[in-house]
Structures are given as structure tokens and as C-alpha cells.
């Protein structure tokens, strides 16, 4: 008896496999793919291979994330908000607030009794998401993964006056050509994103412990900037990208166990790995 959580994000696809007791067996992260986004089956196959399992061994599979409707082998779909909240509280039982900053949105979740109680999110404006850093990194000619480390060397933060990502992109190039130091510009950029996300989080009301997840949580400069903006301690899981898929796997196990205890048979999908097409027209 095994369980799986599949999280199809805008940029990364994540799969987590657990055993009967909910212990982590394997996890795999792979790019969702820019164009046809057909990688759920591939990522699933790798995760199974690593755990030495076959798709037929999985009792229940929950899909989550943007592309959750297009995972043909998933038995059930649960929103990423519920899965994130569940995943975070399994890793940090004292967590009351989770902030997930991804490449396409930012979500702030309130957790009560290990479950999602309330949330606010921004998926309308790139300036409050990881995309802000992606776009400005490429304008500055540096790698996204180097941004945080470089920003820590800053002697001061240069305030970024433009909110809009497109204009900020132009602004940072102008700052650089004016001779401003790269690390100071980066510190300003991190601060700009952190204060936008902090404003979003405050709408929800902050309660400790606070956990930061999503790709942006891997950026040490952002963790620092968020700590400063929110003036509180921030916990970051070892694998900040995986909380959604982990939560999905935990919810898969809970759903299955509850049905089993009640003696009900859960409908499951065919255990065949086929090509999945995300964001396809028929699901719009």
C-alpha cells in the first residue's frame, strides 16, 4: 500500500511517494515544460523507479497545482492551497501561517488544526511573484539562483521605484549603467518583492510560526528580506518546492484510510502512465 501526490506547477512538476504509514519514499522534481507540458507521466515514472515501485502499487493518487486536471492517472484533484497547508503543517506542526511564492503567483495561507483555514493570493500582477526576480535577473544578466547570494553582500539597499516588473526591469538596467553596485540593486529588488508579499500576508493577519515555501524560498536573500519585512522568524523546509506534492500524498493517504475504515471502495483511475497534456483546450 503506497500513496502519491503529484503537483503540476507552472514551471515545475513534483511527485512525492509515501508508504502505508505516510513515510517519504521518494520525490522527484522536473520542469513542467514551456510548451506542451507533458511531463507528469515522466516525473511519476522516475519517482516510481527511485522507490522501486510500479504504478500498480500505488493505492491512491492525488493531483494538485495548476495542471491538476490533466493528470490522467490521478484518482482525485485537490487545490494546491489545501495541499500546501497540509504539507507545511506535516513538516512544521506549529505553523499557523504559510507563504508560498512561486513563479506565477504568491499565496498566503492560514493554518488551523493542520488544515487550510483562510487564504489570500496574488496571481494578477507579476511584481508580487517570483517572476519579478526571474525577469530582473535576466535583465541584469545573472542567474536566478545566484541572486540571493549576491544580494547578501550589499552594503545598502537601492530602493526600486517602479512597482511594475516591466518598468523595474528597465530601472535596474539604468541603475547598473549609472554605476550602482549589482549587490545593492539586488538587495533593493529582494526588498521590493518582500514588501509586496508582506502587504498581501498582512491582509490575512500574521500568526507565528511562519513557514516560507515555493521556489522563491530557496533564495536566501529573499528569506532575509521577508524576515525584515515581516519582522518575525521564518522557517523554510529543506525542500521548499515539495510541500504541495507532499500535502497531496498525505491527503491521498488520509482519504484512502478514511474510506477503508468506513468499508467504502474508492473509485480509482487506470494505473497506466500515458501522455498528459496540460492547459489543453478541453479543460478551459
Amino acid at each position: 500500500m503506497h500513496f502519491a501526490g503529484v503537483d503540476i506547477g507552472s514551471t515545475m512538476t513534483k511527485v512525492v511517494l509515501t508508504d502505508k504509514a505516510g513515510n517519504l519514499l521518494s520525490f522527484i522534481k522536473g520542469p513542467t515544460g514551456a510548451e506542451h507540458r507533458q511531463l507528469a507521466n515522466e516525473v511519476m515514472r522516475q519517482a516510481l523507479e527511485e522507490a522501486g515501485l510500479h504504478i500498480g502499487d500505488i493505492s491512491y493518487i492525488v493531483a494538485t497545482g495548476y495542471g491538476r486536471l490533466n493528470v490522467p492517472f490521478a484518482d482525485c484533484q485537490i487545490t494546491e492551497l489545501s495541499c500546501h497547508a497540509r504539507g507545511v503543517s506535516s513538516l512544521f506542526p506549529r505553523a499557523r501561517t504559510a507563504i508560498d511564492i512561486g513563479g506565477q503567483d504568491a499565496k498566503c495561507m492560514k493554518i488551523d488544526n493542520g488544515r487550510l483555514a483562510n487564504f489570500v493570493m496574488n496571481d494578477k500582477c507579476a511584481a508580487g511573484t517570483g517572476r519579478f526576480l526571474e525577469v530582473t535577473a535576466s535583465a541584469l544578466g545573472i542567474r536566478l539562483e545566484d541572486m540571493g547570494d549576491i544580494s547578501l553582500k550589499a552594503a545598502r539597499k537601492i530602493p526600486i521605484s517602479n512597482l511594475c516588473t516591466i518598468f523595474a526591469q528597465q530601472e535596474v538596467v539604468a541603475l547598473l549603467s549609472r554605476g550602482e553596485k549589482l549587490e545593492n540593486i539586488l538587495a533593493g529588488l529582494h526588498d521590493a518583492l518582500a514588501s509586496r508579499v508582506a502587504a498581501l500576508a498582512r491582509r490575512l493577519g500574521l500568526e507565528p510560526d511562519l513557514v516560507l515555501t515555493g521556489g522563491v524560498a530557496k533564495n536566501i536573500g529573499m528569506v532575509k528580506a521577508m524576515k525584515e519585512s515581516l519582522a518575525c522568524e521564518i522557517f523554510v523546509p529543506e525542500e521548499p518546492l515539495l510541500t504541495g506534492a507532499l500535502g497531496a500524498a498525505i491527503l491521498a493517504r488520509e482519504t484512502y484510510m478514511r474510506a477503508a475504515a468506513a468499508g467504502e471502495a474508492l473509485p480509482t483511475k487506470s494505473r497506466r502512465l500515458e501522455k498528459a497534456t496540460f492547459f489543453s483546450q478541453e479543460h478551459r
Binding site: 510548451e35 507579476a126 511594475c164 516591466i166 518598468f167
Partner: protein, 267 residues
């Protein structure tokens, strides 16, 4: 000493004009680039060369636009709202509403019978609220800005953008291209999205007709037509609409020099 200069340093383009009494004698447009001070200087030099003037021939210069501070040789700065109003008033004295579609934002200005600003509103500094959205998508479609409007005009079924952010719109356009959507339908979809943002801005200040349109966005005829349809009115389009604010600055310069000595920012 009867020449006057108006310089409008915008986020994307810098514009300058020289007028003699009220007649436009020269104009120049360059990309603003990273160094606004240099752009201002380049415009002054080019304008004077075009007319054959020396620095002493220009009686007074007024600077406007988001980079106005960099025009160190200007007599004073004037707000872009006031300059746009004066510029439009010189071409269309009958206009009561002006829509200025610039790169960084769109402004809607209400004018009274004398051309005095009575009210205005501006979109937030968000690329989706101004012409920059079009530049971003034109870049994705790999077409020149000048080809955007004719391309959009050929569309049969414009796409509807699911986002109001230019960055997300850029990704959406890339996805749609990979799904086989035509460039025409994407270009037209951008015009539709921008037009609807602009129309809601116009409604905020309660449009009074006749309404004029200016700024670089007014060169996009297909966008102007979409706005006309939504507002159910015919828009007045000046020749060289992107120069209107600089023209207004030059007119203010002429008025400043002929009236008593004046303080800064008292336009």
C-alpha cells in the same frame, strides 16, 4: 529670440519641439535610453541643427515628462498633464477630454471651454495600462511597432487575455503562438485588453465630447478604433500625436517668456 523649446522626457521616448511664435518649426524623437540627461542634450543639439540655431537663439525652454529633472538647461519644469492640455488645445481648441496613451501609463484629462484642466486621472504605473503592453507583445510576435496596428486590423477573432499583467500576458501570448493562434488575433487581443483598461479610465472622469487622443498609443489606429467603438464617439487625432506634450511645453515656454518673470513649477 522668438524660438521656444519644449522637451518631454518619457520613460521610453524623449521628444522635443521648437516653435516660432505658435508655429512648429522642428521636432525630434529618440529613445530615452538609460541616461536621460544625455537624451535631453541630444535632442537640443539635433533640434538646433535642424533649424540652424545657436543656444542663444532659443529664448526659453520648458521641460516635462517623468525625466524632466534631467533637462538641466530648461527654464522650468511643467507637469505633463498641463503640457498635454496646452498641446491639444493648440490643435483642437474644442476638445473637452484628452486621452494620452503613453508608454508608462495612460492619462485622461478633462478641459473646460478655455482649455484649462478641470480634472484628470492616470492609470497606475503598470505596463498593462499603457502602450508598453503593446511593445512587449510586439516583441514576442517579432514585429515592428509600426506594423502592429495593420496586423491587428486583419484579425477575425481576437483572443481574450486571461490576465491584466503585461508579464503574464507575454507568457500567455507565447503559449497562444505555440497553440497555433495567428499573430493577427493576438495583436488584436492586446489592443482589446488595453482599450478596455483605457475606457474604464475614461469613464472615471466622465468623458465630455469632443474627445481627443494623443501620445504614442494614438499612432495605433486599430487601438484608437477599438476605443472609439467602446466609447461610441469619434476621437480627434492630431498629426504626430506623440509630440503633443512637448508641443504644449514649448507653448508654455513661449507664454512664460512673454509674461513677467516667473517662479518654478507655476505652470
Amino acid at each position: 529670440m522668438s524660438w521656444f523649446m519644449g522637451i518631454d522626457i518619457g520613460s521610453a521616448y524623449s521628444k522635443g519641439v521648437i516653435i516660432k511664435s505658435v508655429e512648429l518649426v522642428a521636432s525630434h524623437i529618440i529613445k530615452s535610453g538609460a541616461d536621460y540627461r544625455k537624451s535631453a542634450e541630444a535632442i537640443r543639439t539635433e533640434l538646433m541643427n535642424k533649424v540652424g540655431l545657436t543656444r542663444n537663439d532659443v529664448a526659453y525652454t520648458v521641460a516635462t515628462g517623468s525625466g524632466a529633472d534631467n533637462v538641466y538647461f530648461a527654464g522650468h519644469k511643467a507637469s505633463d498633464i498641463v503640457c498635454t492640455a496646452r498641446g491639444i488645445g493648440s490643435v483642437f481648441p474644442q476638445a473637452r477630454t484628452v486621452i494620452d496613451i503613453a508608454s508608462q501609463s495612460t492619462k485622461v484629462i478633462r478641459l473646460d471651454e478655455e482649455g484649462i484642466v478641470t480634472n484628470f486621472t492616470a492609470s497606475e504605473k503598470c505596463a498593462a495600462g499603457g502602450g508598453r503592453f503593446i511593445e512587449v507583445i510586439a516583441n514576442v510576435l517579432r514585429i515592428d511597432l509600426g506594423d502592429f496596428s495593420p496586423l491587428a486590423a486583419r484579425s477575425r477573432s481576437p483572443i481574450t487575455f486571461g490576465t491584466s499583467c503585461a508579464v503574464f500576458g507575454e507568457s500567455e501570448a507565447i503559449t497562444r503562438i505555440s497553440e497555433g493562434m495567428s499573430k493577427e488575433d493576438i495583436a488584436s487581443g492586446v489592443n482589446k485588453a488595453l482599450a478596455s483598461n483605457i475606457v474604464s479610465l475614461v469613464k472615471k472622469v466622465k468623458m465630455e465630447e469632443p474627445c481627443a487622443v494623443c501620445g504614442g498609443g494614438a499612432l495605433n489606429i486599430s487601438l484608437v478604433k477599438t476605443i472609439e467603438t467602446e466609447l461610441d464617439t469619434k476621437l480627434l487625432i492630431p498629426p504626430q500625436p506623440q509630440l503633443i506634450t512637448a508641443l504644449g511645453a514649448a507653448i508654455i515656454a513661449a507664454a512664460s517668456a512673454t509674461s513677467a518673470p516667473r517662479k518654478k513649477n507655476n505652470s
